[in-house]
């Protein structure tokens, strides 16, 4: 099925400091890991043989902290991708970076290496909140990094975390106003979630603090959607907002159940091989990862039709545009189950619009329960 979008994700698992809320596959950086970098290059070569290569619609450096890679390494990866896969003209080549001065200093070099979209992990403009979140930057650095990034990149974004314990609507409004003052074309607003295995989970179990009740979270969420909409940023996905034309092309691959290759420790892939949709997971630990050869790094598994339907629902309904009913039918061999579908519409939680089944603002907040109802 050539002509289908294909993205490539690169996971660089190292961080200079591990944040207490993060449950990603991350490791504290102890010097340069040249072996892992070489492994990534091998992976790109390997995948180019494994599938019929086609021009990438996007390339995304995530982590961890991919901005810990040197601009030369980033350039090498981009060059290899161009050689092995190619890029479509409008390909998005994105990278995540921390707003510390040290990393901000490398932004121009990353742009020169070929990065055309930069996403900063700002999280908050309040030093107390940043401290609570265990971040190693302060509010001043955050502001400076945004300004610097926007001078270099046309396409920028940053993340904020909300619903921290005791956060008031007033506080969140202030954070949002600061955020919007930069006129950034894309932002991601993440509700603080206590994930299993994190330091925050332990803290909550100990009773050090408690997450906000869902009513309060819902209020903060609605408030943000409202304030950002007025500033021209549309919530095109549960946690992502953008000005027209600035939606993340790479992330949309995930939500639209398109093909993507993920390389690096713990990265996931979804690729269509001989009309069969495959999932691949990888070795988690960077040292083990680098020691193996590419065929041993990736655990491939065919997804059943049920698995594909569940993923199509759970990812697709995150988008404001909803899911394409024709694609659903093509995948499931039948229409969306009528009973829950009609009840959801009746309850004002969903609507059908332009051959898409989409959740309303109220419905999107109940995504998990709604997907369960739609699962046959």
């Amino acid at each position: 099925m050539t002509g289908n979008p294909l993205g490539l994700y690169i996971h660089w698992p190292y961080c200079t400091r591990l944040c207490p809320y993060c449950d990603f596959n991350i490791y504290r950086q102890r010097g340069k890991d040249e072996a892992l970098f070489q492994a990534l290059l091998e992976d790109i070569n390997w995948w180019a043989n494994e599938i019929v290569p086609r021009p990438l619609t996007s390339l995304s450096f995530g982590g961890g902290t991919p901005s810990l890679l040197s601009p030369e390494q980033v350039a090498q990866i981009i060059t290899l991708c161009r050689k092995k896969f190619g890029f479509i003209d409008s390909a998005e080549i994105g990278m995540e970076a921390n707003p510390t001065d040290a990393e901000a200093g490398k932004l121009q070099a990353f742009a020169d290496a070929g990065i055309n979209r930069l996403s900063l992990g700002i999280q908050s403009f309040d030093n107390d909140v940043l401290k609570f979140l265990g971040r190693n930057h302060n509010a001043r650095e955050a502001r400076r990094a945004i300004e610097k990034a926007q001078n270099i990149f046309d396409n920028t974004s940053f993340d904020l975390i909300y619903a921290t314990p005791d956060q008031t609507p007033k506080h969140w409004r202030r954070e949002l106003e600061t955020a919007l003052s930069f006129n950034t074309p894309h932002i991601s607003l993440y509700q603080l979630t206590v994930e299993p295995g994190t330091a925050f989970e332990k803290a909550v179990k100990r009773g050090t603090w408690s997450p906000l009740p869902d009513e309060k979270e819902a209020t903060l969420y609605a408030m943000a959607q409202d304030i950002c909409a007025k500033a021209g940023l549309s919530g095109y996905e549960i946690s992502n907002l953008a000005k027209p034309g600035y939606e993340s092309q790479h992330n949309k691959l995930y939500w639209l159940s398109h093909d993507f290759i993920g390389i690096g420790p713990g990265a996931h892939s979804r690729v269509t091989l001989q009309a069969q949709r495959m999932a691949a997971e990888t070795i988690l630990h960077p040292r083990d990862y680098a020691q193996e050869l590419p065929p041993q790094r990736f655990f491939m598994e065919a997804l059943t039709r049920e698995d594909q339907i569940t993923e199509f629902l759970l990812m697709g309904l995150r988008l404001k545009q909803g899911l394409d009913l024709a694609r659903y039918k093509n995948l499931a061999g039948k229409d969306l189950p009528a009973k829950p579908r009609d009840q959801l519409i009746k309850d004002g939680l969903a609507r059908i619009d332009n051959h898409h089944f989409a959740l309303t603002a109220k419905g999107r907040l109940l995504l998990n329960t709604i997907v369960l109802e739609l699962m046959d």
Binding site: Y190, E215, N368, T369
Partner: protein, 600 residues
């Protein structure tokens, strides 16, 4: 056959975890009943469930051959007894089949409530009792204190207690020697007509019903025609034997011996524990005393979560019944829960055991409804009906009066916890009959309505006394009370499986408690759910489950899809265990948890 003077029959009395099973294993090991390879930990606790809970449900026996220091060879028969109030009758029968007991006490823990309840039963059965202090190798062992405690609390001389560590094997030979030298030999007359006590029976897929007996007089042999005196049935004995603990066939069982026989008996229900077995051709003059048929006192509905499993449930219940005649069942239909069975049990533990066995051994997910007792409902037309299920309550205008069963309950408790026990009994509509002290322990006797006890009284008692209370009860008859049926409405729909019969004066409190419980047990939905308790048309308590407003993962990218999908699959499977009432899904455990009462 063995000479009476060379037989010793005994049981082991101990609190859970004080080492009863480990000691039994050691005795078997040391007398060579099993090779080391054959030893599975805790041989006697056969059922998976028994192993897990550390309790014995069915009595088991094992025959040990022991050559004592006097050079003679002895047969030692150990009967392992159930240790729970639900099975008090079975325990009393097992204990009456032996002449002595080993009282095993953990030297680091001391005497506990269960020990006390069981040792009194052994004393009632006229047993010679040998105290055994176990776990003397533990650093926390305090031998002198525990010896003193045995003397103070139980009134037994513990100065010559046997000191052992069942774990290391230390002192086990002394236990065997004590059994021979300190326990009395059984008495009996070989030439008298056969008289044997039916101690237990179980169903074996190969042998049919296996009956465990203690021969008192006469001889039990293959080829004999025996009569069960209470049941009135006769059977031809085709095998006689014992367990060592493997099954061994013997030519006969003589007086004082314990063993089994088989005789083409189809179901366990035909063999009633406590019955007297005699020779059809030479019937003994009188039956052994103490027989009473078991009566279920607690009833509840068992429904398959998946209604397609109804036939499986029918078969499973039938199979369990083959091996446990003490529970009853009949088909029941519920508007809320579909087809199921109304079952009667000896008590709550019994209920729980049957339910767990159905779920585990037969793989059927069950919804259990509120346990209930049998109410006698007198109608205005003079008719009396026995009500086993609150859902079947007749229209109140047709009811003249309702009577409920009462029990006389005896609780023994250290006086530190007395206040809490009295409060519990008073809260459950109890009427105090007696309160006496023995040392630092109090004995309280209360009359209580059984319906206040069936549900969680025993659990509650255990928790408020940290396990130091013992509890026993028996039915004393029916009394007229002001009882009403309370319904629970979820999202304005009555849920019949949650209906209960309750005393008018307690209705409001129970209703409030149930609504509060259900509020926590039913997950939030996308809409508000009112929960109401009502008597007739009158709402007496109300709670509201607020609507769920936010249930969405903040971050969901390429690496999250797999995990999220697997989580949804799991939740989906969990949803199948819920019951749909209108638009509300109620988790199966809610039906029972809603009734547990918290002390305020």
């Amino acid at each position: 056959m063995t000479d009476l003077s060379h037989i010793r029959n005994f049981s082991i009395v101990a609190h859970i975890d004080h080492g009863k099973s480990t000691l039994a294993d050691r005795l078997i090991q040391l007398t060579g009943g099993l090779t080391n390879r054959e030893m599975k930990d805790q041989v006697l606790d056969n059922m998976e469930l028994e192993r897990e809970r550390g309790i014995t449900i069915k009595a088991q026996s094992v025959r040990l051959s022991y050559t004592a220091k006097d050079g003679d060879s002895y047969i030692l028969n150990l009967i392992d007894t159930p240790g729970h109030v639900d099975f008090a009758y079975e325990v009393s029968r097992s204990l009456s089949a032996v002449e002595g007991s080993l009282l095993v006490v953990d030297a680091s823990q001391g005497v506990e409530a269960q020990t006390l309840a069981n040792v009194y039963q052994a004393i009632d059965a006229n047993h010679e009792i040998v105290p055994v202090l176990n776990k003397i190798d533990l650093p926390a062992a305090d031998i002198e204190r525990v010896q003193q405690q045995i003397e103070d609390v139980i009134g037994l001389d513990a100065s010559d207690a046997v000191m052992i560590s069942a774990k290391t094997g230390h002192g086990i030979d002394e236990v065997l020697e004590a059994i021979v030298t300190r326990l009395p030999a059984p008495e009996g007359d070989r030439n008298a007509p056969l008289k044997a006590l039916l101690v237990d029976s179980w169903y074996d897929a190969y042998l049919g019903v296996v009956v465990m007996v203690r021969v008192v007089d006469g001889v039990l042999k293959k080829g004999m025609k025996v009569r069960m005196m209470a049941a009135g049935a006769t059977y031809l004995v085709d095998q006689v034997g014992a367990f060592d603990p493997k099954r061994i066939n013997l030519p006969e069982l003589g007086p004082g011996e314990i063993g089994f026989f088989t005789g083409q008996i189809k179901q366990v229900a035909d063999t009633k524990v406590g019955d007297t077995i005699t020779d059809e051709k030479n019937i003994c003059k009188e039956a052994l005393p103490g027989f009473k048929p078991s009566q279920p006192v607690v009833f509840c509905g068992l429904f398959p979560v998946d209604s397609a499993q109804f036939e499986d449930l029918r078969e499973a219940i039938g199979r369990l019944r083959l091996n446990d005649a003490s529970f009853e069942f009949e088909m029941e239909t519920s508007a809320a829960l579909g087809f199921g069975f109304r079952c009667g049990f000896l008590g709550l533990l019994h209920l729980e055991i049957i339910r767990e066995r159905l779920e585990r051994e037969f793989n059927i997910d069950l919804i259990t409804t509120a346990p209930s007792v049998i109410y006698n409902i007198y109608l205005t037309d003079g008719e009396m009906i026995e009500l086993h299920n609150p859902a079947d309550m007749p229209d109140p205008v047709k009811i003249d009066r309702i009577e409920e069963p009462w029990i006389k309950a005896t609780v023994m408790v250290p006086d530190d916890y007395l206040g809490a026990v009295l409060k519990l009994c008073e809260d459950r509509r109890g009427v105090q009959l007696d309160l006496t002290y023995a040392g630092s322990r109090a004995m309280v006797v209360y009359e209580l309505p059984l319906n206040e006890v069936v549900f969680d009284f025993y659990d509650k008692l255990k928790s408020i006394t940290k396990g130091y209370a013992s509890f026993d009860y028996h039915l004393i008859g029916y009394r007229q009370e002001n009882l009403v049926k309370m319904q629970i409405l979820v999202n304005d729909e009555p849920v019949d499986a949650l209906s209960i019969i309750v005393h008018r004066a307690r209705a409001e409190m129970r209703g409030r408690a149930m609504c509060e419980k259900l509020k926590d047990l039913i997950p939030r939905h996308q809409f508000k759910i009112p929960i109401q308790a009502a008597i007739g048309g009158r709402v007496i308590a109300r709670e509201t489950i607020s609507a769920l407003r936010k249930d969405v993962t903040a971050k969901c990218y390429g690496g999250d899809a797999t995990r999220k999908r697997k989580l949804l699959d799991k939740q989906k499977a969990g949803k199948k265990k819920m019951r749909q009432f209108g638009r509300v899904e109620i988790p199966q455990e809610a039906f029972i948890k809603a009734l547990k009462m918290e002390d305020k």
